[in-house]
Symmetry: C2
Amino acid sequence: MTDEQDSHAPGRAVLSLDIGGTKLAVGVVTADGEVHGLVVEPTRRWEGPDVVIPRLFELGHRAIAAAGLDRPVDAVGISCGGPLDSGTGVLISPPHLPGWLDVPLGSMTSDEFGVPAYLENDATAAALGEHRFGAARGVSTMIYLTISTGVGGGAVIDGQLHRGAAGNGGELGHLMVRPGGRPCTCGRRGCLEAYVSGTNIAERAVEGLRAGRVSPDGSPSSLAAIEQPTAADVAAAALAGDGYARAIWTETTDVLGQALTDLVNVFEPELVVLGGGVTRSGAMLLEPVAEAVARDAMPPAAKAARVVLAGLGDVVCVVGAGVVALDAQEGEHA
Amino acid sequence: MTDEQDSHAPGRAVLSLDIGGTKLAVGVVTADGEVHGLVVEPTRRWEGPDVVIPRLFELGHRAIAAAGLDRPVDAVGISCGGPLDSGTGVLISPPHLPGWLDVPLGSMTSDEFGVPAYLENDATAAALGEHRFGAARGVSTMIYLTISTGVGGGAVIDGQLHRGAAGNGGELGHLMVRPGGRPCTCGRRGCLEAYVSGTNIAERAVEGLRAGRVSPDGSPSSLAAIEQPTAADVAAAALAGDGYARAIWTETTDVLGQALTDLVNVFEPELVVLGGGVTRSGAMLLEPVAEAVARDAMPPAAKAARVVLAGLGDVVCVVGAGVVALDAQEGEHA
């Protein structure tokens, strides 16, 4: 994804495993940030770690074969939602994988592939991927927010990945935006995630319909005809002019704009990068939240920050976990 | 303030000027973090920069004489509330100094003392002071919050002062804690500062009394007998058992605890240091907010973070601006 010749280790390649709540995405990542032999399959998380992890490893072997490497990979990078311990490689209790408790995924992966394995929080990995090979290349300080099944985030500060004292590197999805508001998966109320994740956009739409809410002009919403409307359905209906869907969408961008204003004030980044499934809605998400930041953040911070969409799209976590593993190997060999 | 022998430049000394909305504090800071020849006088900000700045410089000459230096200072560090431009040394429009617009304080100071001068946001300087010589010595990642006339903050991340793309290094006082709530000096509503600054604690108490609020048991508040109660009066009355004052205080610690939880989630620091006049209330401020963070922050972040009071007390900004100037000189000579 860059035309520049990579100066170190031509041919250095790592396997990258991205474990999402919905999809497993696996590929070989080379030092130029390119993904080779990408395979994507449903997670089927309800099958549990004893079934899903062997299947994940099988995908890994397929990706290595498909990438046409003439030698083993140098390492494996793993991207997964937290909480996890990146130091020990243990998945603690990720809410998007119910029942996956204290899984020693790092050592299991290392045993399977015979090389070191590095586990990283998915949003932290994505931040690193966007900084190295995506929308934030060359930027000194940036924050990344993934708006997907849940909401996560990561930050690069003065060119360095921010890991924090606990190693999770910042839980941006749990900023409190509406004290006493909607319940969140974290156990509190009123978190950012409880309003703007794909799951919660859909839930807010359904709850409003059940409560009898209609469009401001009194007409029924087109969403009422959909059995289980998704966030994408809400976005499509809002774009098509459905007044009820527009109100749900405006609440989404209001809350996200408020949270990004807080994050821009606190971090003073040059760039805010938004990724994850909900950002496929594009300009109708990006424009109002970028306007909110420009209008509401403290003037010097607002002037310094741009808000953009991720450059790596659906492979952002695959690239990010690849960068984690490549960097760790670089550290080993330095 | 340390027993260790400083390895570089024994005798290196800088003048430090701290410009508060209420007080001017000036002293000579040596490389061991000690303050010599400290002088503190009222700011009398209403006299304007043309009167106050010459008086500030006069205090500087007095402090140098009182410190008994046998040679000129190496540099001058200046601590002041923002917004300011630390690169050009210009005070832009600090709300605590009304009418001080675009004052080129850096160059004026440099001309006056014949050495380089470095202007820094007061809370940023204080964060650096606490990290080098105060409660956060040896800590890798910490945030500092000053709760005073206003609320400001700074952060040290992986041992480095966080400056941010705009150079202000994070506006922690303007986290939105109560959307649509009390008006803030920044022009928005519901910011942290609009609830927990000394000014706003006092204002909330007065507003409630005017609205006829009383203690939960129906008895009138002792604060009603004070013509212009301050935040210190509210704290004292709450400590003495005044039910109305306790309710005002509980709102203060609730809001501060919520904001600190957000900041701990976002930065994952090892330490949160609280300084500024309002923290003279001590345990009755510290204990409930530390409990809120331990209870409400994401478990790994909560486990990693301690909340403590500043170690440098009233001279935190004097020491901080001194460290800024010492570090800048170090950079020049490196």
